[in-house]
């Protein structure tokens, strides 16, 4: 390919160690046979790149946004190949998705960046691609990435058309006033219908069909046209190298050897090794050790200039020092800080406990290390009588929770007990005593054990989300029924074309947090898509439901529920508990209660006879072994009143309903 050749020639010119006889030689930081995804330090000790040859006018900063599985990562792989950033091989799959969990699930969790070099009409361009996560749980990462961009490529599947997340991502970019380049991907598929998708784009986003680029990222068809559009349509960043340094921290990672690596976008000035910089947020001073670009691995450069995107290492020891949204500036040359971001807000809370309490310290250190790289997880110490010492963690959503758990298992070999997820409720206190105690009137309740009594509360609040559902119209009836069952209120309904409908509903968050997505997928044969955004709090008739065993409260099973759902939830928990507790010497009443009122009950009958019939001298060895094992088991039981409950009984009840 001529262009690849050109790019490579350019590399050869830039990188003197490359023999001229090998025009297709690789960029110097990339050893032949590089395994995609491995974090390499091969750049160290090598010559640094000179970034001064890329003035602001030849820089384009952009993201790719798409609904999950619409081909965002595949397009990124092709762009990296075409620009010679990575070698063109058959095994470039999700190059920017470095985590094992990302590759396994085919999703992007952590935003990554890559600088691409591309010659267009004789001009060398620096194109900074800032990859974004594809799932709703990670939309905070999307908006964070967009803040460093001037434009986006909006990828839509030619077969599936616009999906819920396409809509959400479009509005994120639109509200940020970014240039949007619509791209219709997978035109090679048999069922591809790009005309229909173009019409949807026109109707929903008011973008002319002529603007759309039809591509197949898989086969590379028209991908270069996308690059050309990026250069032609997306404006260069508006900033000047002559201004004082003004760098936005839009992401950060933690490296065990080098400390915090902050990803930055320069909105003014330049930065290089030895510079003294200050964090606008912490006011702390640092000395720059290294700057560079991401290719996508770190590649040191002499300097970074205004408009460029790269990384800085400056002796920050903790991730919290590199606050996302922070502005870095020169010591003695303070600037007006850039508007920061709202920090990621946990939407889902769950208790996390070691399977075995002796593993507590190991889990603690694993959690500390993992949260270094995922500052969106909030961690509070917690303890439960049944499960021992642990934590209450806050996640952005259920997928985030699963991904975090999976990373704990895969990267730290930890196995944990995760309790049923809950959402952050609020209470407006009316009791003067409590207000004084909490120091505020409105409190957030993340653990049902802390639910304040109705008498001292003027109003309970529950978090809500605005959900977007895109579905083929034949499923509408079922979906509306599902939404009503989830206490949702319809806000909008729009036919995108003859076949597809977009619905908007205001949902109480707790109604969708566990199994809504699965239910939606199953009743629409997988065709409906769903996305949501935070929609604040609404007043709700919340109550705390206790679970009792023979009248004694089981603290770890207390739940906050909406009054309308109390009976059904209570019945469900009682039934599960009945299956999980073994019969005992006496009858056990398993009850769900609201205050003093019993709303559900199951009865576990007493054992009446269990003595083994035949026991002579014969082989009592085997019997003794069994009895001793039972005796050992007794020591591990949690006693609630007289009732002995095996620990796994709680796990079975607390676990998500879908794990039945």
């Amino acid at each position: 390919m001529a262009l690849v050749g050109r790019t490579a020639m350019w590399w050869a010119r830039l990188r003197s160690p490359c023999p001229a006889a090998a025009p297709l030689c690789l960029p110097p930081w990339r050893p032949a046979g590089l395994v995609a995804g491995g974090r390499l330090y091969s750049s160290r000790g090598k010559e640094k790149l000179d970034m001064s040859m890329y003035p602001v006018e030849s820089i384009r900063n952009f993201s790719i946004i798409a609904h999950v599985d619409h081909g965002k990562s595949t397009l990124a792989d092709r762009l990296l190949e075409i620009t010679g950033t990575i070698a063109k091989t058959d095994c470039n799959k999700q190059v920017l998705d470095k985590l094992q969990v990302e590759r396994e699930r085919g999703i992007t969790v952590k935003a990554q960046s890559a600088s691409l070099f591309y010659n267009h009409e004789g001009v060398n361009y620096l194109l900074n691609l800032i990859d974004t996560p594809g799932h709703v749980d990670f939309s905070y990462e999307v908006s964070r990435s967009l803040s460093a961009c001037q434009g986006v490529i909006l990828v839509v599947d030619a077969n599936e058309g616009i999906q819920a997340q396409t809509v959400a991502n479009f509005y994120l970019a639109f509200e940020a006033q970014l240039t949007i380049i619509p791209v219709i991907n997978k035109i090679d598929l048999k069922n591809a219908d790009p005309e229909r998708v173009e019409k949807q784009i026109e109707k929903l986003f008011d973008i002319s069909a002529d603007e759309c680029v039809r591509i197949s990222a898989k086969h590379g068809t028209n991908v270069e046209k996308v690059l050309q559009k990026v250069i032609e349509k997306i404006p260069p960043p508006q900033c000047d190298t002559a201004d004082p340094l003004k760098a936005l921290v839009f992401d950060s990672t933690f490296d065990h050897y080098r400390g915090v690596i902050a990803n930055i976008a320069l909105f003014g000035g330049e930065i290089q090794e030895g510079h003294k910089i200050v964090s606008a947020h912490t006011k702390k001073r640092y000395e720059v050790n290294e700057v560079g670009i991401l290719t996508p691995n770190e590649q040191p450069t002499h300097k970074l200039y205004a408009g460029q995107v790269g990384y800085v290492i400056a002796g920050m020891k903790e991730v919290t020092e590199a606050q996302i949204g922070d502005t870095l500036f020169f010591y003695k040359q303070p600037v007006e800080p850039l508007p920061g971001f709202k920090s990621a807000k946990p939407m889902v809370f769950a208790g996390m406990y070691p399977v075995d309490q002796t593993e507590y310290n190991n889990l603690k250190s694993a959690l500390e290390r993992l949260t270094l790289n995922d500052s969106s997880v909030t961690v509070h110490r917690d303890s439960s009588l049944a499960l021992g010492a642990g934590w209450r963690l806050g996640f952005l959503g259920l997928l985030h929770m699963e991904v975090f758990n999976q990373r704990l298992e895969q990267e730290y070999n930890m196995s944990v007990i995760l309790t049923a997820p809950t959402v952050p409720y609020k209470a407006v206190l009316s009791s003067a005593k409590l207000i004084k105690e909490y120091g505020k009137e409105e409190i957030t309740i993340i653990n049902p054990a802390q639910f304040p009594d109705k008498l001292s509360v003027s109003e309970y609040l529950e978090p809500t989300v605005l959900g977007t559902i895109v579905t083929p119209h034949e499923y509408i009836g079922k979906i509306i029924a599902l939404c009503q069952d989830r206490r949702a209120v319809q806000k909008d309904m729009l036919y995108m074309d003859e076949h597809r409908v977009m619905l908007k509903y205001l949902f109480p968050l707790n109604e969708i947090v566990v199994d809504f997505y699965d239910a939606l997928k199953s009743l629409s044969s997988g065709y409906a898509s769903f996305d949501y955004e935070d929609a604040g709090y609404q007043a709700a008739d919340l109550i705390k439901m206790d679970i009792l065993l023979n009248g004694n409260q089981v603290e770890e099973l207390a739940t906050i529920v909406h009054n309308d759902k109390a009976c059904a939830t209570g019945k469900f928990i009682c039934e599960r508990l009945k299956d999980a507790i073994p019969r005992q010497l006496f009858e056990i009443a398993i009850q769900a209660a609201i205050g003093k009122k019993i709303i559900a009950r199951e009865t576990l009958k007493a054992y009446r006879k269990n003595v083994v019939a035949k026991c002579y001298g014969g082989d009592i060895t085997r019997r003794m072994k069994l009895l001793k094992r039972q005796a050992e088991g007794k020591k591990l039981m949690r006693k609630i009143g007289n009732v002995e409950v095996p620990r796994d009984a709680f796990i079975r009840v607390l676990k998500r309903q879908t794990d039945k």
């Binding site: 006879k609 019939a613 026991c615 005796a631």
Partner: protein
């Protein structure tokens, strides 16, 4: 000490039985006899048991052996240790191999007590159990046995068969009461892995008896037997006129016993070789292998494990609490001279809780289950073991 010779052969497999038994076309009885005799001599010498207080021929189907074999083993015992004239010598018998003539032969050989595997007095139930005999044949055997061993004939009955109703069981038991002598063993059917019956029930081809029905059947039986003058002296055993099985009682009292024959279990102190600790012993399971070992080394002991003092006490609890006398202070003191029953179970803890709830009793007689506690012994034991282990 007591002796338990095993005859490992059966003519047919019963659908519920998972004992160590072998169905072979021809048994070389002389060879098996010689080995039983030799092993009995070896182990009696090893145990240094002075007096053999009871003998129980079990199996397999020991009534398939000839009276001559029984006599040979008894002679060997009498030659190696003291066998008192009144010692209880029981033979397990199947109605299908216990004609009046054979029974007379066994009596002449030295048997003085018979335990007959009647199992049921209903032909359909007998077929379900895979038994070879009919109810009428069982009746005939019991009647003949009562003539030959008056007051010393016991019958076995099974309850909780798939599909069996409470009424059917009560009727069967009433019929058995009209037939029986002074000792009855009532066993709740246990579905054992590897048996035809268990496979049928677990495979869904036969109904599993509900837990509550089993408890009712047990309760009904106890009431009927007690009304008929029987003493419920062990979980599954009833006797009147003092006809308790002394052999089985010595098991439950954790006395020494010597297992002889393929797959036999024993518990004794091998003083003959200088041992001081009670051992759990198992003889080789497979008859031919067992015989080779007996011929070459005098015995076929496959496994011997020294029981720690704690393990001995655990066994004593698990066995003793099955009886109505429970674990007496005397038996406990035999195994634990330092730490009394009160010292272990009289303190606040599991045993006291269970006493308060009416499952257990600790008094001058010792530690024992209440009548309703007995049916739930398997739930009480783990608690008691926990408390014991803490001492």
């Amino acid at each position: 000490g007591t002796l338990c010779p095993q005859w490992p052969y059966c003519r047919k497999r019963c659908s519920y039985c998972n004992f160590n038994k072998y169905v072979v076309p021809a048994v070389d009885e002389a060879a098996v006899r010689a080995c039983l005799v030799q092993e009995a001599r070896t182990l009696l010498r090893l145990s240094q048991v002075q007096s053999v207080t009871s003998i129980f021929f079990g199996g397999g189907t020991p009534s398939l052996a000839s009276p001559h074999t029984i006599a040979a083993v008894l002679e060997a015992v009498a030659g190696a240790a003291h066998l008192p004239a009144g010692a209880e010598v029981t033979l397990e018998a199947n109605p299908s191999s216990a004609s009046p003539a054979r029974l007379a032969g066994f009596r002449a050989a030295g048997i003085n007590r018979l335990s007959i595997g009647v199992q049921s007095l209903d032909d359909a139930e007998l077929r379900l159990l895979g038994r070879e005999h009919t109810a009428a044949e069982a009746r005939g055997t019991v009647e003949a046995a009562r003539g030959l061993f008056p007051g010393q004939t016991s019958i076995d009955l099974l309850f909780g068969l798939p599909g069996q109703s409470q009424d059917a069981w009560a009727r069967g038991l009433a019929a058995a009461l009209g037939l029986c002598d002074d000792h009855i063993s009532l066993y709740q059917l246990t579905l054992e892995r590897g048996t035809t019956l268990a496979a049928q029930v677990w495979g869904g081809n036969l109904p599993a008896p509900p837990q509550d029905l089993l408890a009712d059947m047990y309760q009904t039986a106890r009431t009927m037997l007690v009304a008929a003058g029987f003493r419920h002296y062990e979980v599954s055993n009833f006797a009147r006129k003092g006809a308790l099985s002394t052999h089985n009682l010595s098991y439950w009292r954790a006395e020494q016993y010597i297992g002889v024959g393929p797959g036999a279990h024993g518990r004794f102190v091998p003083r003959g070789e200088g041992g001081h600790s009670r051992e759990a012993r198992v003889q080789t399971l497979e008859p031919d292998a067992w015989m080779r070992e007996v011929r070459s080394q005098g015995h076929g002991t496959r496994r011997r494990v020294v029981l720690s003092p704690l393990e001995q006490l655990e066994e004593l609890l698990a066995l003793g609490l099955r009886t109505d006398e429970g674990v007496t202070h005397e038996r406990w003191g035999h195994f634990s001279p330092q730490l009394s029953l009160e010292a272990v179970f009289g303190e606040p803890g599991e045993a006291q809780d269970l006493q308060q709830q009416g499952w257990l009793l600790l008094d001058g007689g010792g530690l024992r289950c209440s009548a309703r506690g007995l049916a739930l012994l398997d739930s009480l034991l783990p608690d008691l073991l926990c408390q014991l282990q803490r001492r």
